[in-house]
């Protein structure tokens, strides 16, 4: 070689020290799920093995995320750069308290969905690939939470999107095709907006590393320049579409009730929250000036989202569609936290996101059990479930209290924080909207409880007289399976725990929030002490 006389100083551009063994936790969630998804795909004909293997890998995912969370809480932000290239040249995975918390809670929900799927997905559904798609969805979700590179965030979004398309049309039902068309086209347009904004951001700063962009944005003299304002607006539109905020929310109630109920549960828990996470990451950490500039707009969107979700939920008699609107109402609360933008309000938004991931998944799972017991998702056609199972009625009441934000369950604390933050910021309308939306949610959930559980039988029968619905499955065999009750029990236990002992979660969300509002630890982790 001609260049043999040149000695290359690798220390300029490469990390010369070997990666600490514990730092491999950073990429473990994506690798475990990718490996598990591929193995499950190879075993697509052995449908009983698939469930065991899938649940096994999801258990590993929970353990890896727990390890990651512990390590982040001990060591602060950890960064791993691919190929040992120093940032901003290599592709970075940076994990702070916010990422690790979201990823950990997400993996718990995915594990519960894997368990629930073992009972509710038949062998045809497994052969079509429920477990591979679920694991690959988690690859995308984990990657989106853990990456420190904004273009990679786009790529991970697409990974979870294509896996979610697969899950959504699992079963090839006519209604699913209808829902999937709307979900697919609108989400693809949303990610294209994301890509436009990323391209423009690259054009301005010449870098894609989030920490690098954050430093360069902070160094700008004129933070609200025209191009940067365009970028911020495009990001807001893209993430609002992902999170189903008003007015770009209509794909959600059109599609979330069509797939198998466990698929709806995972979607409702995780997918919109990835959008909220990206919104917090980009608007609070990378573009804080643009967030301040747009905070009135974000507050308006939050209020309208809260009201759309709550009124939409009141207008539905189909249980799953009602829950879809409740997902939207929850997004409004989280947006309210982003609109205020203080450490307190962001910690409220993070706590609410964690609560919403757990409670929405649990509610969809519970509605699946309602369908098995009562034979329908329609409020008019079910009743008398209290007589069939008083324990289940109690669990549903807990979930209803939690989703409405009533004490003593997990929804109460983040709502208190968010309302407090909104009022002390002088945005009384925002605080009022959160409270009003919670009140309407209480009405909607109370109505479900009254009609499905308290009332003796379906509409048109004499009260107190349970009438067998013609054609309704008895559900005895499926209901006897602990695989349906165990995940619901785990999620409900978490809801009760976070409600009665909120200190741990409060500390976690406060650390996550201060980590994005003042990202010194994040920047130091990426660029070293400079």
């Amino acid at each position: 070689m001609a260049g043999s006389s040149v000695s290359v100083d690798y220390a300029l551009a490469m990390a010369t020290e070997p990666v600490a063994a514990g730092d491999f936790f950073v990429v473990a969630p994506s690798l475990i799920t990718l490996l598990g998804g591929s193995l499950c795909l190879m075993l697509r004909k052995h449908t009983d093995w698939q469930a065991r293997l899938g649940i096994g890998f999801l258990t590993l995912l929970v353990l890896a995320n727990a390890g990651l969370l512990i390590r982040v809480l001990d060591h602060g932000v950890i960064t791993m750069v691919m190929g040992s290239w120093l940032p901003p040249f290599g592709i970075a995975f940076s994990v702070d308290a916010l990422s690790a918390t979201m990823s950990f809670v997400g993996s718990i929900v995915a594990f519960c969905a894997g368990l629930y799927g073992a009972a509710s997905i038949d062998s045809t559904g497994r052969r079509y690939g429920f477990y591979p798609f679920l694991l690959l969805l988690m690859t995308g979700v984990s990657g989106a939470f853990l990456t420190g590179d904004i273009f990679n965030l786009y790529v991970w979004f697409e990974v979870l999107l294509i896996a979610s398309y697969g899950l959504l049309i699992l079963g090839n039902d006519r209604m699913q095709l209808d829902g999937a068309v709307k979900y697919g086209v609108l989400n693809l347009i949303g990610t294209n907006f994301f890509l436009i904004a990323t391209g423009l951001l690259y054009g301005i700063f010449g870098t894609l590393n989030m920490a690098d962009i954050a430093i360069k944005v902070a160094a700008l003299n004129e933070p609200a320049s025209g191009t940067l304002a365009t970028v911020a607006a495009l990001y807001f539109l893209a993430f609002a579409m992902k999170a189903a905020a008003f007015p770009v929310n209509f794909w959600l109630p059109a599609s979330y009730h069509t797939p198998n109920i466990v698929v709806s549960a995972v979607f409702a828990g995780l997918l919109t929250k990835v959008g909220v996470y990206a919104l917090i990451r980009v608007f609070v950490m990378i573009l804080p000036a643009s967030r301040g500039y747009m905070s009135d707009l974000i507050a308006l969107v939050a209020i309208l989202t809260l009201l759309t979700g709550a009124f939409g939920a009141l207008a539905q008699s189909e249980l799953r569609r009602m829950l879809g609107y409740l997902v939207i109402a929850g997004i409004g609360s989280m947006l309210a936290g982003v609109a205020v933008g203080s450490t307190l309000s962001i910690s409220g938004a993070i706590f609410y996101a964690v609560h919403s991931i757990i409670v929405m998944t649990a509610l969809y799972m519970a509605s699946g059990i309602i369908n098995l017991m009562g034979g329908s998702y329609d409020l008019r056609a079910i009743g008398g479930l209290y007589q069939k199972s008083a324990a289940f009625a109690a669990v549903f009441l807990v979930l209803g209290f939690a989703v409405s934000g009533l004490p003593p369950f997990s929804g109460f604390w983040p709502k208190v924080i968010l309302v407090d933050a909104a009022f002390s910021d002088g945005r009384s309308w925002l605080g009022a909207a959160i409270l009003f939306s919670g009140f309407l949610t209480t009405l909607a959930m109370g109505r479900v409880w009254i009609f499905a559980f308290w009332r003796g039988g379906p509409e048109g029968t004499a009260d107190g007289q349970a009438v067998a619905v013609p054609g309704a499955p008895d559900g005895g065999t499926a209901l006897a399976s602990s695989a349906l009750w165990l995940p619901l029990g785990i999620l409900t236990a978490l809801i009760v725990y976070f409600g009665l002992q909120p200190e741990w979660m409060l500390e976690l969300s406060t650390r996550g929030a201060s980590g994005v509002v003042e990202p010194f630890g994040y920047l130091r982790s990426v660029f070293g002490d400079q």
């Binding site: 790529v155 209604m175 709307k182 697919g184 294209n192 409020l379 009254i450």
Partner: protein, 125 residues
């Protein structure tokens, strides 16, 4: 050079938005495909357009001597092309299956998941 490409990108965006506002899914998908190409060209233009200077570094230097073509946008665009192509292919098949099952490719007539005359929930107990 940049100016011409920028106008072209603008034209692409206009066509894409026009097509995406259509009620036929096939037209919407064509709009999405054009949108994807517009975005790719946008990324490419943002990474500076330089003709005929490959990003080669002479063997006795660390950095190139002159301003070269930027290789990074090419990598980004390559990723984006692969992704948008696969999504376009998937959605095309999905739209075709929906047309087979539902007998229409007009979104206004696809009302299976959200029935048109949906009854309101029970009013009294």
């Amino acid at each position: 050079m940049e100016t011409i490409v920028v106008y072209l990108i603008g034209l692409f965006f206009a066509v894409a938005v026009y097509l995406m506002m259509s009620r036929q899914i096939v037209r919407m998908l064509l709009g999405v495909a054009i949108l994807g190409n517009a975005v790719n060209m946008l990324i490419f233009t943002n990474g500076r357009l330089t003709r005929e200077v490959p990003p080669l570094i002479p063997s006795h230097l660390y950095t190139p001597e002159v301003a070269t073509a930027n290789p990074l946008p090419q990598a980004l665009v390559l990723t984006a092309i692969v992704i948008s192509f696969s999504f376009f292919a998937f959605l095309l098949v999905l739209a075709f299956r929906a047309y087979q099952e539902l007998g229409t490719d007009e979104v206004d007539e696809m009302r299976l998941a959200e029935p048109e005359n949906d009854q309101s929930p029970p009013q009294g107990y």
